[in-house]
């Protein structure tokens, strides 16, 4: 089995743009190729996806028809995790020495409008107004707050920290820091979650070039090892989006399963990680994911957030580039943005938002409907 290294990353900034989503994806790939110092012709396998911006393999028309197997991947908001997992698997299986994972998207404004039948559900569920992702996020965090004593203040602190980080991230969509009161008094969207506690569907592209670890030094002086890229689904009783009913007995979530698998694969534990990117579709998700990924006990988040533990200068920095809250969520690209931010942090190239003390181990977790989680662990 071969190790896998990341030798190039590229981002088309998230936000709202004139360009098509596909072209934003191509721009991200070109940036990643340039970062790795290679040409598109050097890539031997490619994996990617988008929800609303077309087929990833159509990127070949923009990048060049080199005849490689370009696999389209689709796993909701976790698409980036699945693409990276597939690209890494191709290298481990020696199907390719150099592989690409790419994601891009361009969503209409407002909440997503999923079709019940696409998710194995009956039409009435959507017709009655129950198939809205924001409802799930709100109900999951409300129950969590009730069980573990998390306050409304904690929800505000997550958003405040995200926008503070976004303000020092040159490519972030939301670059204006907001104070506690402004966030706490912003309009209620899905009680208890307010306007600035939600990320918005957005546009953008993200690409990562991987290679067999043995040859990484040919391309870069600062290779980053991809120590784990695990994707898992849900178990019975896990509280996931689009659930007309749930069992009272809670099962392990997709995130808990993926996190455990990734730590086993990487041979490290939560305490070894220096910088974290956790899915923050809204403030509550980041709070729950801190515990589901093993970085604290359930309920401990209240104190950690009050103490600023997840700030860039804290002991467990989370979402150093402002996460989904400051960058928005082009769902095909979102998981790869997390990985790119980790690479920049581990190379020491993160500018004003650089985590101090030369971070060596990075952890990224992306979550998507209907209950799938991808965890990536990187180290220098």
């Amino acid at each position: 089995m071969s190790g896998v290294a990341i030798i190039g990353v590229g981002l088309h900034p998230f936000g709202r743009h004139e360009q098509s989503g596909l072209r934003q994806g191509a721009a991200a790939v070109r940036a990643a190729l340039a970062d790795a110092g290679i040409e598109w012709q050097d890539v031997q396998a490619a994996y990617g996806g988008s929800q609303d911006a077309g087929n990833a393999d159509a990127l070949a028309d923009l990048l060049g028809l080199t005849g490689i197997h370009f696999t389209n991947i689709w796993n909701g908001c976790a698409t980036g995790g699945s693409s990276l997992n597939a690209a890494a698997a191709a290298i481990k299986a020696r199907q390719a020495d150099i592989a690409l994972a790419v994601g891009f998207d361009k969503h209409p404004r407002g909440a997503f409008a999923p079709r019940p039948s696409d998710w194995g559900l009956q039409d009435w569920y959507g017709e009655a107004g129950l198939m809205v992702t924001t409802q799930f996020f709100a109900m999951k965090i409300r129950r969590y707050m009730h069980e573990y004593g998390i306050s409304d203040d904690a929800l505000v602190r997550v958003a405040e920290k995200a926008l503070t980080n976004g303000a020092i991230t040159p490519h972030a969509w939301r670059q204006q820091a907001l104070d506690f009161e402004t966030i706490a008094e912003s309009p209620m969207v899905s009680d208890p979650l307010r306007k600035y506690m939600f990320c918005n569907p957005a546009e953008g592209g993200a690409a990562v070039v991987l290679c067999r670890a043995e040859i990484a030094s040919r391309y870069t002086a600062k290779p980053v090892t991809l120590a784990a890229a695990e994707v898992r689904g849900r178990e019975p009783g896990s509280f996931e989006v689009f659930s007309p009913s749930l069992s009272l007995e809670r099962g392990r979530s997709a995130t808990e399963i993926a996190a455990q698998a990734a730590f086993e694969t990487a041979g490290i534990g939560p305490g070894d990680c220096d910088v974290l990117q956790l899915q923050d579709t809204e403030s509550g998700a980041e709070i729950m994911h801190m515990a589901e990924n093993g970085f604290c006990e359930h309920g401990e988040q209240e104190k950690l957030l009050r103490d600023g533990a997840t700030r860039i200068d804290g002991p467990m920095p989370v979402n150093t580039d402002g996460g989904c809250l400051a960058n928005g969520e082009p769902v095909g690209a979102s998981g790869l943005r997390q990985v790119i931010e980790l690479v920049w942090q581990l190379r020491g190239e993160a500018g004003k938002r650089q985590v101090p003390g030369n971070p060596r181990v990075g952890y990224a977790q992306v979550y998507g409907a209907p209950g799938i989680s991808g965890v990536n662990i990187l180290h220098t």
């Binding site: 959507g126 017709e127 107004g129 129950l130 109900m139 129950r143 009913s245 069992s247």
Partner: protein, 146 residues
Amino acid sequence: MLFDMARSMMLHEDLVQTGERPVLLGARCDECRAFLFPRDDRCKRCCSDRLQPCELGDRGALWSWTVQSFPPKPPYRGAQNEQFKPFGVGYIHMDNTDVLVESRIPLDSDRPLEIGMPMRLCLETLCHDEHGNAIETFAFRAEAVA
């Protein structure tokens, strides 16, 4: 019979047994004893196909909730634009079962929603079809205080 009179129709059959008092319909797995809603032909927990239709009753306790404050996009069939009124959404832990059922909660009472409050099944008019028939769906309301 007055055939030209507008009638009430359920948004979907098999979710509720209508009558004097509505009852929520589900299924129970013969193998692992899990309750399912809506009815299905295979158990999500243990993959068994030995399922029996069952009633899930009409009462439960509010397990979690939120408020839908903006009109959902299609295929939502309720009112859009200015006609839209926010509605509650919650999971109800059905009495004498281990199942939580997701439901609309009409916000037509002054009682604030609270985890643990007793809830009762009802029918709610979601919209009207082109013939003027009321399309009804199941919903839960807080139990009246004695």
